[in-house]
């Protein structure tokens, strides 16, 4: 019998886990351990409205009044430094300890930096509220901002910096931006937004070094080109916060390894959100999803795994069916980019509606004549239809309906 649960990581996935515990009838002690001093807040606006000064810190709060009734034990401001599974304890940096029969790992990820970049004035990464506040100070008319990395966060920062009046250059080491998530054709189509809005995009040239001390003055590229800069934003991905788990016995390989129901190799320990690399039957791989919707929805299944010991969604839990199709969105230059599904590297892509040239289109990815994923650019209604269709295909057919595993359901797409 579980009498206490420690949730480590007090952000989107951690709060969702705490809510799910109460929702599913757990009435024991729930302790939320978070290294940030803040109550859970929403990160997507950090590169969008908050960075532009259009949303306040209060508006980012994820908690609501209803959460007061959850009766949570908050331990904020000190990171967990060790998981001691046999003693059923979590050790904190401030010397404190939390004893718990079960543990939810929800420590998320941190922004990756480039070697030698940290510590110089004017160089930023973006993950936390403090990061966003510091960067916001730099974005003003006359500023020259160089964004390293044309992924989603880098592209969003470029768009926001431009809107704030800065002159912006984006540098991407790969020949085609966003080719990883979207494939080369659609990556190119989306990256065209930069030029549309007067942002220069340089692809296929890595950054060699930063110039200027103590503050950055320019970025030098591998081809010798120098880009003057009053601020540099490094958007080269995120790394899972798993270092503190060393010696715990939990399996880590680019994130905490879990099965499709978020169980780790240790009994009574589950992992969710950006810190977890979870098994996807559809691809047969462990994937660290790093999407907001996944961090929100996975905890429901993970908590069921903890409390019931069983895997998979309960009958009639429609929320699980939707989670079978990973989904993310991005907003750049006022354009909405939405993506759902499991794209394979070999999938073909065709434009189903609209025209990439108009920056308003819907593209469908296919494998052997079946849709695997969908991309919408400023097409929310049609996108939603396709996203629904992908999820429905997944839940209605294939061997998964009996076992109830959302992940298996996704495999038949």
């Amino acid at each position: 019998m579980i009498r206490s649960v420690a949730v480590v990581g007090a952000s989107l996935a951690g709060l969702a886990a705490a809510r799910a515990l109460r929702d599913q009838g757990f009435d024991g002690r729930v302790t939320l351990v978070g290294d940030e001093p803040h109550r859970p807040y929403d990160r997507p606006p950090l590169s969008k409205d908050f960075l532009l000064g259009r949303a306040s810190a209060e508006e980012l709060a994820l908690g609501t009044e209803a959460d007061d009734a959850l009766d949570l034990d908050w331990r904020l401001g000190s990171p967990a430094t060790a998981l001691l599974p046999h003693e059923r304890r979590v050790r904190l940096a401030d010397g404190g300890e939390v004893s718990a029969d079960s543990v939810v790992l929800a420590t998320g990820a941190r922004a990756r930096n480039l070697p030698g970049f940290a510590g110089r004035g004017g160089v930023h990464t973006l993950r936390t509220l403090e990061d966003a506040r510091a960067l916001r100070e730099e974005l003003r008319p006359g500023a020259r901002v160089v964004v390293v990395g044309a992924g989603f966060i880098g592209s969003e920062v470029a768009s926001t910096a431009k809107a704030a009046g800065a002159e912006v250059t984006v540098v991407e080491a790969l020949p085609v931006p966003l080719a990883g998530p979207l494939g080369p054709t659609m990556g190119t189509a989306c990256a065209a937004l930069h030029a549309d809005h007067g942002v220069r995009l340089i692809c296929g040239v890595p950054v060699r070094e930063l110039l200027g001390q103590p503050r950055v003055t320019a970025v030098r590229l591998a081809d010798g080109q120098e880009l003057p800069a009053t601020a540099v934003v490094v958007g080269v991905g995120a790394e899972p916060n798993v270092g503190w788990l060393a010696g715990s016995g939990v399996t880590v390989d680019d994130g905490v390894r879990t099965d499709a129901a978020y169980a780790t190799n240790l009994p009574g320990v589950v992992a969710v959100g950006d810190c977890a690399a979870s098994y996807r039957a559809s691809t047969g791989r462990y994937v660290r999803t790093e999407h907001w919707t996944d961090a929100l929805e996975a905890p429901r299944t993970a908590v069921r795994t903890l409390l019931g010991g069983g895997a998979g969604p309960a009958a009639g839990d429609d929320g699980r069916r939707r989670a079978a199709v990973p989904y993310f969105w991005s907003e750049q230059y006022g354009v909405r980019i939405q993506f759902a599904g499991h794209r394979g590297a070999e999938d073909e892509v065709r434009v189903e509606a609209g025209d990439p040239a108009d920056r308003s289109f819907l593209a469908v990815y296919e494998r052997e004549g079946r849709a695997t994923a969908v991309l919408g650019v400023n097409r929310p209604k049609e996108f939603t239809r396709w996203r629904r269709a992908l999820a429905t295909t997944g839940s209605d057919s294939g061997p998964a309906s009996g076992s109830g595993s959302g992940e298996q359901a996704a495999a038949v797409l």
Binding site: T64, T293, L296, Y327, W329, R336, P380, K381, R388
Partner: protein
Amino acid sequence: MEQSETLTRSDVVVQVCHLNELPPGESIRVEGPGGVEPLAVFNADGEIHAIDDTCTHQDASLADGWLEGCTVECPLHAACFDLRTGMPSGPPAKRPVRTHQVEIADGVIRVRVAVAAVTA
């Protein structure tokens, strides 16, 4: 106080479409006349519901959303609202959307929207 509140409110009736133009599972966005926020009208398995179209979380049209039973999910960030009460069922939305009274006569859907008058 109570009286003056009723006095400062007036109703605007917005014509939406014919009932047969909105089959079950469908939704439509309607631009209201001046002073009226855009509306989203849904046919949830035969029941017609009307709410404010703009998600209370961030600027997105709920008529573009995912309708399931009596719940609509925002097309952008998956905030869910109960069409009958306007209440959000979880993050990221924290505030309800306004719900509006639906009137059906002669096969035509109309929505009655309470508008606060400018004069207080």
